[in-house]
Symmetry: C2
C-alpha cells in the first residue's frame, strides 16, 4: 500500500507541477488494441492510434516494473490487484524489440510471441504501418517456409537455414526457380527474415499480383566460425567462415535439394545491416556466382564515413566501373530516413564512390523509419520486385 501511495504521489507531482508543458505528450487516446504479434488470446501488449504501446503484467510483490522499449525505460504503475500497466511514447511504425524489467530482471513479456534479436529471444511489438498491406497475411496462395538442418564440415557444427519456396513450387514439379540468398543483421539469426521480416508474406503478396517473379529465398545464419591456431601465440581463435559455408556448403546443398536455376544470372544475394556488409563482400569476390545484389541499411565500408578510394577499397573490386556495370545486373541499396549515425553518412560515402566510378545502382529511402524491420521489409519489397527481370 505504501508503494502505491508513493507512485500516486509521483504521478501527481508529474502531472501537477511538470505536466503543463507536456500536455500534448501525456494526452493518451484510449483506443488501444492488442498487438498483432501477441500470443493467441493475449490482450496485452496493446497499441493505440498514437502508436503508443501499453504493457501490462501481474506482479503483486514487485517494487518496480518498467517497459523497456526503444532505448527508454517507462515506469509502470501498479493497481490494487497487483497488476502493473505502463504506456510508452509514440513509436515509429513497424516492428520493435522490447522487454520488461521486473525489479531489475530483464525478461520477455509473457504476452507476445518471441523473436530472435539483440542476441536473444525476446518480445516484439508491431505498430500498424500505413503501408502494412504489402506484408499482410491474405487469402492468396502461400509458399512454404522450410527448416533445413545441415552439418557443416567447415564449422564442425550443426547449422540451420530456412528456405522459402513460392506458391506452386510443390504442385509444378518440373519448374525451376531463381534463388535469393537473404541475410539477417547483427545479433539476429536465420529466423529473422521469416518471423519479424515477414519475407514469405512479402513474396507471396508480390507474386500474387505478378510484381515479383516466383523465386526461392534462402535464409541462413551469418555467424559461422571455425577455430584456428593463432600463428604467434598458438592460442586457438575463432575465424569467420560464413563466406566459405555459403559458397561451398549451402549453395551446392540448395542446388541439389531444390529445383533452382543454378547459374549466376538466377542467383542474387542481399542482406540487412551486418548482412549487407557481409553479402557485398561475398558478392564482389564471387561475381561468377551472383549477378544481383541488395544492401539494406549497410555497405562494406561500415562504420566509416570517410571518402572511399576505389583502388584500395575491397582490394580494388570497384576500380573498373564499366566491368561492374556489365557484370552486376542489379545493384540495389536502401536506407531508412530516420537511421542513426553512422548509417546515413557511411552509406552516403559508399554511394559517392559508386557515383564517382559511374556504377549504376538503385537507391531507395524508406520514409520515417530507422534501423529497424519496417525499413528492411520495404527494402525487400522494392528489391524483390526488380529481381530476375
Amino acid at each position: 500500500m505504501k508503494q502505491y501511495t508513493v507512485v500516486m504521489l509521483y504521478a501527481f507531482i508529474l502531472s501537477g507541477f511538470l505536466g503543463f508543458s507536456q500536455a500534448s505528450q501525456v494526452s493518451i487516446v484510449e483506443d488501444f488494441k492488442p498487438s498483432s504479434v501477441n500470443q493467441p488470446g493475449q490482450q496485452y501488449p496493446q497499441v493505440n492510434s498514437q502508436s503508443r504501446v501499453r504493457a501490462r503484467i501481474s506482479a503483486p510483490q514487485a517494487n518496480k516494473v518498467q517497459l523497456d522499449l526503444g532505448g527508454v525505460k517507462y515506469d509502470m504503475v501498479k493497481d490494487d490487484k497487483g497488476t502493473w500497466t505502463g504506456d510508452s511514447n509514440p513509436q515509429d511504425e513497424g516492428f520493435h524489440y522490447y522487454q520488461l524489467n521486473i525489479d531489475g530482471a530483464s525478461v520477455p513479456d509473457p504476452g507476445t510471441l518471441y523473436f530472435y534479436g539483440a542476441g536473444r529471444l525476446g518480445s516484439g511489438i508491431e505498430i500498424p504501418a500505413k503501408d502494412q498491406d504489402f506484408f499482410a497475411l491474405k487469402d492468396i496462395p502461400h509458399g512454404l517456409v522450410s527448416e533445413n538442418i545441415y552439418f557443416s564440415r567447415l564449422t564442425n557444427s550443426f547449422r540451420r537455414c530456412f528456405i522459402y519456396t513460392p506458391p506452386g513450387y510443390n504442385e509444378n514439379a518440373t519448374t525451376h526457380y531463381p534463388v535469393l540468398y537473404l541475410q539477417h543483421g547483427s545479433f539476429e539469426d536465420e529466423t529473422g527474415w521469416s518471423a519479424q521480416g515477414k519475407a514469405n508474406l512479402i513474396l507471396d503478396n508480390l507474386i500474387a499480383v505478378k510484381q515479383a517473379v516466383p523465386m526461392i529465398v534462402v535464409m541462413d545464419n551469418g555467424y559461422a566460425y571455425k577455430t584456428q591456431n593463432n600463428n604467434r601465440d598458438k592460442k586457438e581463435q575463432l575465424v569467420s567462415v560464413f563466406e566459405e559455408v555459403l559458397i561451398t556448403e549451402v549453395i551446392p546443398m540448395i542446388d541439389t535439394k531444390f529445383r533452382t536455376i543454378a547459374n549466376r544470372e538466377n542467383r542474387a544475394i542481399a542482406g540487412l545491416s551486418m548482412g549487407a556488409n557481409q553479402t557485398m563482400r561475398i558478392m564482389m569476390k564471387h561475381l561468377d556466382t551472383f549477378s544481383q545484389y541488395g544492401g539494406f541499411s549497410g555497405t562494406s565500408n561500415y562504420p566509416s564515413s570517410d571518402v572511399i578510394d576505389p583502388s584500395a577499397f575491397l582490394n580494388g573490386k570497384y576500380k573498373d566501373g564499366d566491368f561492374i556495370n556489365k557484370k552486376i545486373k542489379l545493384f540495389w541499396l536502401g536506407l531508412g530516413t530516420k537511421e542513426p549515425s553512422p548509417f546515413p553518412k557511411s552509406v552516403g560515402a559508399f554511394r559517392a564512390m559508386l557515383d564517382q566510378q559511374k556504377i549504376k545502382y538503385v537507391y531507395y529511402e524508406s520514409p520515417e523509419t530507422a534501423h529497424e524491420w519496417l525499413t528492411w521489409r520495404r527494402c525487400l519489397k522494392q528489391f524483390a520486385s526488380k529481381l530476375f527481370r
Copy 2:
C-alpha cells in the same frame, strides 16, 4: 543482505534439524551443465547428474524469486550481486515446461528456448534421458519441416500446419510417400511435435537405419472452431470443427501439394492425450480414410475409467471386433508407467473393451515417464517403426 541471511538460516534449520532423514535429497552433486534447449550461448538453466535443475537470473531489486517446475515452486537465493539461484528436486528424464516467478510475475526464463504448452509460449528444460540417442541430432540425412499457412473456410481464419518430408523427398522427385497425421495435446499447438516432440529427428534417425519407412508427417492444430447460433437462446457459440477441417481441408491440401500415396492403406493418424482422443474419434468415423492408428497417453473414453459398453461407446463403432480387425491394419496404444490418474485406469478400461471384443492392438509402456514429452517421443518411435509395413 537481510534476505540472504534469512534464507541461509532456513537452510541451516532444514539441514540441521530436519535434514538427517533427507541427507541424500539435499546433497547436491556439483556437475551441472547447460540444458540442451537453452538459447545459444546461455549457461543457465543447468542440469546435473541427479537430474536436478539449477536456474539463475539477475534480479537485484526483487524480494522473492522462484523456480516453478513440475508443480513445485522452489525458492531461489540471492547473492551479493543480485543474482538469484535455485535448484529443483530430481526430475524425470525428458522434457518439462517451467517458468520463473519474480515477485509474483510468472515469466519465461530468459535463458531457454520457448515452447508452446500450457496455453502459452514458455520455458523448457531437457533432462538427459538414458535412451536419448533415438531423438539426438546426428550427422545423417535430415528431412525438412515446412511451415504451411492456409485459410480455412470452415473456421473462417488462417491456420497453420507443419509438414515433415523425409530425407530424399526433394531429391527423388517422383517418389510418393505414405502420410501420418500427428496431433498435439491440450493447450499445445502445431509446433509441439517438431519443437519439443523432436518428431523430425526421431523419423530421421529411424529412417537412417531403415527402422521406419520414409513417410510424410503432417502436424496441424487440434483447436478449430466455427461460430454457430445456439438453437435455444440464439446466442453464438463455438463448435469444434477439427474433424471437418482435417478431412475436407487439410488432407486434400496435403494430397495436392505433396507427393503422397493418397489412399487409406498409406494414411495413418495418431495423437497424444487430447490428440489421441480426437484422432481415435476421427479414425473410427473415417475408416475409408485411415488404416492405422496411434493413441499416445489417451483414448476416447477419457476421463472415464468405467467399464465400456461396446454397443454404446462411440455409437457402437467397436461392436464388430472382426470388422475392426480386418479394417485397421495397426491399432497402437502407449502410456508412461508414471502417468497420473485418470490415464492408467481410463486407458485400462479401453484396453479391457478391446480385449473383450478380441480386437488386436499393440500396447507399449514407456518406463519411468509421466504425462510428458519423453513418453510421447518414445511412443512415436515405437509406433512409426511399425507404420506402413
